[in-house]
Amino acid sequence: MDRRRFLELSGGALLLLRGAGARAASASNAGVLVVVFQRGAADGLHMVVPYRDASYRGLRGALALDEPGKGEGATLDLGDGFAFHPALAALHPLYREDRLAAVVNVGSPDPTRSHFDAQDYVESGTPGRKSTRDGWLGRSISALGGDSSNPFTAVSLTASVPRSLAGTRAVIALEDFGKLDSMSAGDRSLAERIETLYRQNPSPELSRAGEEAYRALRIFREKDPLASGGGPRYPRGRLAPRFRQLAQLVRAALGIRVAFVESEGWDTHFAQGGAEGSMANSLRELAGSIAAFLEDVGSAAAVTLLTVTEFGRTARTNGALGTDHGHGSVMLAAGAGVRGGRVLGEWLSLDSSNLFEGRDLPATTDFRDVFQEVAAGTLGVAPSVELFPGYRPSSVGVMASRRATFG
């Protein structure tokens, strides 16, 4: 009898068991969740292409991509009439090995086409509500319990703590962790004297911040994560070094459970390009970085990676060979626990009657469904934990995890 079936049968004991299951899960599961935020609203239709769709060519015009097998610049088959943009070639082997899944038509129930509102809603996990103070990953970390004093429980390769991670202190955000590493002997002795000042400061707030900072610094020096060399080749550009650094951090067994990486440049209103061009370049760097990162981490940790963006773009090409702000987009999930090799989510044809407000890909899957499932599958956050206040997520089938949803 499998676990789910058992729980269904046990009826009245369900609530009790949920609690027990949650504790067991958080103790046994040491997965690492990496969230890659594509800031600027990535064009999902240019990532996962419904090449057989009758309306595709008409809508896309000059941006339309060739169907698989049509030579150079053709898309890469995913089955069921879907194909990757050719610049995602580095991810295609992962898909074929069932280690990567795509979710199409995923998005927010809130119709905003404002970047900042939509990012805010995705990161807080509360679409339509701006007063939420913490982020969905911050809440996930809190739900983990355990050692909240490890500043490396969550890492963010950004200059400040991202909205997604607001609400937890067990996080360290730095655009470049290399800066921690590069202290001269003189700097180190000064830094030690500064530490003493923090320790002696009467304010609990300041002394705690100092304590956390210096604990991080000490862990960092002891494990010296950035010293490890070798590893696969990463693409060039601004994104790849963040992934390379993250792989080094993960391999160093710092106790990382959640990592956050930002990828910019997805707001393609102008000259988005087809098989080549500006978006193709961004996709190539993204795909190459992710593939290299997963290879780099190897078996050092059970890493699951999820790409997220605030909304998709218009189905139709605009007058500037780009696309404007839209609605539904695509998420990619890869790595440990992912039931890959599948295009998930409810696809609707590009017929104008299916388009959101007559122009955009619809959002048939709520982004919170994917978030909840991935958080459960990687971090062991129990379905009973209310990560998304006022919302009951349902299963998308991204994760192979037994404890997917039974809510």
Binding site: Q119, P151, A159, V161, R169, V171, I172, A173, Y198, G358
Partner: protein
Amino acid sequence: MATKPESVLASILVSRATFGARPGDVERVAASGVKRWLDAQLHPERIEDSALEKELEVYPDLALSTSELLRKFPREEASRDALRKLVVELSHAKLLRAVRSERQLQETLTDFWFNHFNVYARKNRNVALSLPSYERDAIRPRVLGKFSDLLRATAEHPAMLQYLDNWINFKEGFDPREELRTRRRRRVRANPEREEPRRLGLNENYARELLELHTLGVDGGYRQEDVNEVARAFTGWSVVRPRFVEIAKRDEGSFLFIAMAHDGGSKTVLGSRLAGKGIDEGLEVLEMLARHPSTARFLSTKLARRFTTEEPPRELVEEMAETFRETDGDLRAVTRTMFLSPAFVEAAGKAEMVKTPLELVASALRAASPASPGPALVRALSDLGMPLYLCQPPTGYDDSATTWLSAGGVLSRVRFALDLGAGRLRGVEAVGSEMAMTIASPAFQRR
């Protein structure tokens, strides 16, 4: 303020009303008398500041009008790098003002009010190019004036109109081509403009933030219907796009009320029916909001928070809100009430607030006074998590200790101090290791 010695009062006041004490500042303020110093600061136009103005002449673009900037950086040539350079110049100028200006109170208030009416430089090219004017023409001259003037100046400014999308807030179903054709104007070409939806209609982005962030506050007593009605009142508040220059007979990028895009139906905001027509409806809404008691309370709380503690004492907020109501939103009077209140001295004396990265960098430079605070410091600000003019959400940068005092935050601050001490920031000479210690110390992180 009479219960404490002048030197203590001076120290508290200087820690709040300036970007940090330079050597000797506290003694000078105490000697001249805190009240006299404050009253001088409340009239920045009377304070000589020509040395700074001369220093800022290295950035001639920052003195240009928005239309001049739009001409100088035409769409085809406005590369990302050119716009980035402009924002770096503007950021460096802001830092230079924070460090060098004698009008310190005006600069701290400009920082506060810009953040209150935040706009984001990378929204698009037009926002970036209207930023210099936004801060220089709309905000800085009004931070000690009437709140209603400040509010109107931001409402009409192209930076805000574009940042919060009001420039594309039109009556439902508005079709400019159709309207123009029926008016026998020349046909308008198909439009390649950014972010312009093909089906035009209401955009409530500005209306919502106006109520929630600029005036009443999220609990200020408005409802979704009010957001909708306010959005309708502001339909047609737009900016001159290139193709309208000829028709509007105005410079590209300036404020334009498009009467034919305005929703002519009647509107009820916060229970009262708007009396005016056309553009007057928006102005009426701004007046109504500026005078609303929720606004007085919301702004007083936020100001008091910035200048005292995270939870400002209620009597201080009450005192300020009362001044606000009695003076019809005179920000000079409200600011003066705050700084002269005994409750201010009590609360600010606890020194609980953590400096933002801008305050940290500016106060470090004021304390250490290196000869050349070079543009490398702009980069330092973004490493510290506060790239200027690049806060994307309309809420502006948060002011709470938890935001700035994460483990990474402390390490970045220590790093900054060490770099400054050792002269590793390009164009800024070393300030020495003892000064680095001071700047990195926990005490220095407090306002």
